[in-house]
Amino acid sequence: MNPLLIYRIVCKDLKSELRGKETINFMFLFSFISLLMFNFAADPFSPALTEVGPGLLWFVFIFTGMLGLSRAFIKEKETGTLEGLLLAPVSTEDILYAKTFYNLLLMLGIQLIAFPLFIVLFNYNIAGSALDAFIVLALGNIAFVVVGSFMSALVMNAKSRELVLQIIVLPLLLPVIILTIISLRKVMIAGVNLLSIGEVKLIVFYVAIMAVLASILFEYIVEE
């Protein structure tokens, strides 16, 4: 692992993403609009909202993530620049770390905007601590990004691979998705303290396993 190289790749990604300086605005607008959409699903002040609120909130991130993350590798693949990276003496893990880190930056950026917005817009009353809820979301996002980045590298070459591989991508994410929802509901509806939620530990555990697996297996993904 070479932090300097990782930093340089992340900078490059940020730079080419931010070329239209508007991207941050885009992200803001986007999370704003998709949050607003949910208003129409239920009467905004009905108790049903308290019920489904955490789920909807988390869904916005999954959806945003799906949109954004898959691009990180696929774009480099399609424009052929991934080979440029692979030609340079950067270890394949570092490429994975850089992409994961970049994705994480994006997701946390969106979270920083969308989470307060959600609370204000829906006048949502979090039963537990707002910080706890934020941390749970962030954990979910980390898990999502770690697995998602790795898997998006996997599907990159999907054409020549077996169909089965693609079908693994989303289901692999399923545990995190569900664990996060459960934890989020415990914090936001039942007001449970973060540290006493078993699911949170499971998420951390899951991230750890996935991260280790990903760094071991990544080199098999990029080789052809």
Binding site: G20, K21, E22, N25, F26, L29, F32, I33, L36, N39, P44, F45, V120, L121, N123
Partner: protein
């Protein structure tokens, strides 16, 4: 050249705030509720009604701004004359400002009348989507390189974007709403102006419109100056 534009924008912004503040001052100088000015049965809002004059005017100008975007876009596609693109895009930027005013006024109104700044009233929500439509239009402009491509693509979106206007207009009828209607037959939500109210309304309307037109003229001018200067620069290269 960039500096000049920034200065002009700061200047215009300040001007607008000053004008707005002056108008509020004038209106609130009217003193407490005059029954004859505005009839609102069971008036829960006391002086809150005054803000109607602003929200309604802002709404009207917003609609007008949308119409100008629509027309500018259509004429651009027809003639490919950049003038129309400048008119459409300037109107979109101004429309964003007026929609913001509408939303802020609306929120104040909503708090007075319904007890929450954001009430998810269809009028309120659809007005917000008017804002989003303009924001989307400007977003697209920001995301496309190339002056002509940008003009062309955003013109197409500008035409589509107009659907928001009729939607906002009918939103109160197709979706459960607390928003009152002017000259409504249903007594309970009826809301009407008498003669002096109407005069005040028309005066404000005229000044809002004048402001919009003046600002539109200014922004179009600034844009065309800026474009001209860019041409000079690249010519030198």
């Amino acid at each position: 050249m960039k500096f000049e534009r920034k200065h002009a924008q700061v200047f215009l912004g300040t001007l607008w705030i000053v004008v707005l503040a002056a108008m509020y001052k004038v209106l609130f100088g009217l003193g407490p509720l005059k029954e004859e000015l505005l009839r609102y049965p069971g008036d829960p809002m006391r002086n809150g009604y005054k803000i109607f004059f602003f929200s309604m005017e802002a709404a009207a100008v917003t609609y007008i701004a949308f119409t100008v975007v629509l027309l500018g876009s259509a004429f651009y596609l027809k003639t490919k004359d950049m003038k129309w693109d400048r008119i459409a895009s300037s109107s979109a930027r101004l429309g964003l400002v007026f929609t913001t005013i509408l939303l802020i006024n609306g929120a104040i109104f909503s708090n007075l009348a319904w007890g929450a700044y954001w009430n998810w009233d269809p009028r309120q929500t659809s007005s917000l989507f008017l804002w989003f439509t303009l924001a989307a239009y400007l977003t697209l402009r920001g995301a496309v390189d190339g002056v002509e491509t940008r003009a062309r693509l955003s013109a197409v979106l500008g035409i589509f974007g107009f659907v928001g206007v009729p939607l906002t207009h009918i939103s109160t009828t197709i979706w459960l709403s607390n928003h009152p209607a002017l000259y409504d037959t249903a007594q309970s939500t009826g809301f009407s102006l008498d003669r002096s109210g109407l005069i005040l309304f028309m005066t404000l309307m005229t000044s809002f419109l004048a402001l919009y037109i003046y600002l539109l003229w200014l922004t179009v001018k600034i844009d065309s100056l800026e474009e001209g200067s860019q041409k000079v620069f690249s010519g030198e290269l």
